[in-house]
Symmetry: C2
Subunit: 422 residues, 2 copies
């Protein structure tokens, strides 16, 4: 049985993961957290102690300085700590170096977002095939468990897609993943993560899987408005997202789209900044001769995303609207989670968006430790048993619900003893 | 008779002034243009030659490098050139040094905007009394002609106020100066003059003269919509402006307000930039350690105002809406000018806003040269005879019109022979 966890990354999601690992350290064993900036790791550890989050108060919880771009350094840290599960929550450029270190050491690998080449940001589909899936064969050869994209989206929504396909439909026509943050940080404007990355996602083309092929649109070109559980009427925009690629390959569904909610205010500010040229990564020359990258200045004047958590209120709603047929009848279900920013902050000191990304990663680590998900190959979440994952998240603070016309919304959970027996 | 002109400043308005002086150089004599950057002066001179604008082709037209903050340097240039009329179109910080040089040399002084102390931008009323009017006594003592604020607004609108008070009303209740630029530069966003100055005007309080006292409001707090000649329905916002101060002191009118037209798009962009902190003059520190003043970066990414002129289309409408009583009847008149960006560019190579500011300054210089306005003291435009000024501008490209309910709009001009005889 694998145990002992190394968390790479000490941002908002890393903090959630550290708290959640601490809450389950009788099973997970030693917990190590590493970042380029060890002070961030120490702050996370302080936060875990403040909340008294360690299930086994005598358990190991240690901070490490690490350049995760350096495969050898990651390998040495894995060996030094004896970690058998690596939860990679670092920035998007380190996936391949961390994965390589796991391959070399035999540790299980987990991440929550696709790899990005620093030189080729915003790559086009096929996304996972650009980097991750090129290591599928070696992972299978060496028996390496590598679970890709195991935050909320990608991650939980992949499990929801598998759930719908396997349990609610004979044929699925479309899966629309809808991601709404109806929370408010109380600032005039802020991004929920690094503005340099955040804005970059929306400046180019967006991709969707429609009629079993890739289709490209402009950002903010296509929108939908839904009346959603708890958060009510919300408008979301067609956006490209990692999981569209793996779902399009792993499930036989002709239409898979991702929709990200944006308020009019967000879009307006984004549009003004972009059109004026303030989101550019190319330096401009000021009258005084300074060379300045506009996007770096915008980052400097916007609130630090980490500073938003204490004042964040409201809820997120993320789910899959699935349409298809069952027993010859048209059917439509919405499988979703609602998370609360205030509750997340009270429990783990991060806001709700970090919470929804960090909890699934730790749930996956627990399932690896328990053996259920220790599959000794590279997989995306839709390829794994979704029942224990959904059950475990129900216990860990992310509940899964089902909305279907004519019925009350209900919690989804599984009687696993019965399932195991079947 | 004074002649020989020194123009200080080679921006858009300086260019208009140079062309207009050239068109009248049989009367005005030698024309000199000075700027910190002599290349700008040379470009203006090239433009004058390209248009064949010199009325006397053999007349003197020369460029000079000048730091106009340096009184001694200005005095030396006045002495060196033999200029007897100085048209100060430099930035707002040089008024007092240039005026002092005129006082020391006996040259007549003209400007188009109020003096600003570099350390005390956006001063509160009483504006002219803060700096200019402190030199009234010495100008009177030495017989120095100093005409303050002689562009369009302040300037022409001051003459319109005097015209209304003297010719159309027994008592005036209110003067609303409305400044609309209904032109389009075809860019997503641009300011019509230096963005650092432009934005600064609107970031604080705005002042108006109401019920015979100063009143303060926030920018964009109070708006009005008027159906105006040529430019149609336009929304304008209560703004502070130089001329409110002198008019409040020189005319017995209880309500004098200034309204600047802004499109919703302008206000939106301005609001986003301001609220995010990008209009700040205080340096911020980037991740790479650079210290950057946000407003300077915004200036660098916005189009150079001087670059807008070739593509500028549409018209400006600036005028005074005056309400009061005449012969016991309520009366309301709108005295206005409409200028055309394309026509201005074709004639003098600048857009319409520069044109409306530069032509009145040269008209004033001509009236000084002719003696009519060579009053040998410091005055604001409303204290001077408005008839010859309005007549002369009619000939120089800025026509004055009157709108009154129930009548067709008509040109305002005066039979000066008859006036002189009366």
């Amino acid at each position: 049985m694998k145990k002992h966890v190394l968390i790479i990354g000490a941002g908002g999601v890393g903090q959630v993961a550290a708290h959640k690992c601490a809450q389950h350290n009788r099973l997970l064993g030693d917990i190590h957290i590493a970042s380029r900036n060890i002070k961030k790791c120490l702050a996370v550890i302080d936060s875990v102690h403040e909340k008294g989050a360690l299930q086994n108060p005598k358990g190991v919880l240690k901070a490490h300085q690490l350049d995760a771009m350096d495969t050898a350094a990651v390998r040495r840290l894995i060996e030094h700590t004896g970690a058998q599960i690596v939860i990679n929550l670092g920035h998007a450029f380190v996936n391949m170096s961390v994965l390589q270190a796991c391959i070399e050491t035999g540790a299980a690998y987990l991440d929550t977002a696709i790899h990005e080449d620093p030189e080729k940001i915003c790559e086009t589909p096929p996304w996972y095939a650009n980097h991750e899936w090129k290591r599928k064969a070696i992972c299978a050869d060496r028996g390496i468990t590598a679970i890709l994209g195991c935050g909320f989206d990608p991650g939980v929504v992949n499990a929801y897609a598998a759930l719908a396909v396997h349990e609610y439909f004979d044929t699925v026509d479309s899966i629309d993943i809808i991601d709404i943050n109806a929370g408010s940080h109380g600032k005039y404007f802020a991004t929920n993560f690094n503005p340099e990355i955040n804005f970059r996602e929306f400046t180019g083309q967006v991709w969707s899987w429609q009629n079993s092929q890739w289709r490209s649109n402009k950002m903010f070109e296509i929108q939908r408005t839904d009346d959603l559980p708890v958060v009510g009427k919300q408008t979301a925009y067609l956006t490209g997202h990692d999981e569209l690629h793996s779902l399009s390959q792993n499930l036989n569904v002709p239409n898979i789209r991702f929709w990200m909610g944006f308020g009019e205010h967000y879009i307006n500010v984004f549009t003004v900044l972009r059109n004026i040229g303030l989101l550019s990564e190319k330096p401009v020359t000021l009258d005084n001769g300074q060379q300045v990258v506009p996007l770096q200045l915008v980052k400097a004047v916007l609130p630090d995303p980490a500073s938003l958590a204490p004042g964040y209120i409201g809820k997120t709603c993320i789910g899959n609207l699935v349409k298809g047929h069952k027993d010859g009848q048209a059917r439509e279900v919405f499988v979703y989670n609602v998370a609360d920013h205030v509750e997340a902050f009270a429990e783990v000191g991060s806001q709700g968006i970090s919470y929804t990304a960090g909890v699934p990663a730790v749930a996956a680590a627990i399932l690896i430790a328990q053996g259920t998900w220790d599959v000794q190959k590279m997989v995306n979440v839709e390829e794994l048993p979704y029942q224990p994952f959904i059950n475990l998240m129900n216990q860990m603070g992310l509940t899964t619900h089902l909305r279907e016309a004519g019925q009350d919304d209900c919690l989804i959970s599984f009687d696993l003893a019965e399932l195991d027996a079947s």
